[in-house]
């Protein structure tokens, strides 16, 4: 038996064990608690809904984007802030921008045009924080309710803090943190893995 075979078998055994633990035990649900900072739904100067999922080929919002948009609109309807800022570029620079489609939806459900801000150029969370600061800080907006996925809330909050904001987290659960189905747990684990890599990258790059 070659050394390569032994190594591959060890890696495979760990991977199989990991798969079983992730899909058939509550391990990802428990790990998710570490990445779930508590929501702080308090009055703010603006609600900022970060991009997520984008726009589908037919021009409609993706499920993730729609969930965050509705969460932002609900917070606005509760009177928690007078401004509603949507972020999201066009996929590949073509077609409708996510921020514009979200703004149109908000207007359709009764949010006044004057209360909506759309930012359609930022392509990463870091760019979103930077562009939102250019749009909102001159208006005197510092305290914002940040609508983002639960897993990415910590990273987004740190970025907004670095750009001069006082962010309050209002996470929208893109993936259920209590789903007990194997598929739901695998999805949650994938989101956690993505966020762990993103956090590591942002730290190495000096963005946080």
């Amino acid at each position: 038996m070659s050394a390569a075979s032994v190594i591959l078998r060890c890696v495979g055994a760990v991977a199989l064990g990991g798969f079983v633990a992730v899909a058939y035990t509550p391990a990802p649900n428990l790990l998710n608690r570490v990445f779930s900072p508590p929501a702080r739904l308090e009055p703010a100067a603006a609600i900022v809904v970060l991009a997520g999922g984008g726009v589908r080929g037919d021009g409609s919002l993706s499920d993730v984007s729609l969930r965050r948009t509705l969460h932002g609109i609900a917070l606005y309807r509760r009177g928690l802030a007078p401004l509603l800022a949507f972020s999201g570029p066009a996929a590949g620079g073509m077609g409708p921008a996510e921020g514009d489609v979200r703004s149109a939806l908000a207007r359709e459900v009764g949010v006044p045009r004057s209360a909506i801000i759309s930012e359609t150029t930022a392509r990463t969370t870091r760019e979103e924080a930077s562009r939102m600061s250019a749009l909102l800080l001159p208006r005197g907006v510092r305290r914002v309710l940040l609508v983002v996925d639960t897993q990415g809330a910590y990273r987004a909050a740190r970025l907004f803090e670095r750009n001069g904001f006082d962010p309050l987290l209002a996470p929208a659960e893109d993936v259920s943190s209590v789903d007990g189905s194997p598929e739901g747990r695998l999805d949650l684990a994938r989101r956690l893995a993505i966020e762990i890599v993103a956090l590591a990258y942002y730290r190495v790059a000096g963005y946080l």
Binding site: R9, C10, V11, G12, L16, A23, R123
Partner: protein, 104 residues
Amino acid sequence: MNAVFVVGLLAVSTTLAWTLTTRRRDRRLGLRATGLALCEFAGLWTVLLALNLALGVTIVLAVRTATPFFISMYVLNDISLAIASGLQAFVVYWRRHPGVTEAA
């Protein structure tokens, strides 16, 4: 409940498949050897998926740095990449152990 059902289903189908294949063929592979082969295949799958992801991240960062174009990291968040990595793993496994399939 979903997890219990899926695990039960897999246990039944695995037992059936094991029984059928051992009846029809005089398999030399026992349970231990099959487990080791499964681990090796899973290891290859894992390594190839990791390589695909690492290569993808490198290409995305290179394109962002060296060209005016932007590629989102989320292009790598595609389930087909994991499935295709499994197919790559099968090819590599077969090339490492051609005797397994030739004998069959």
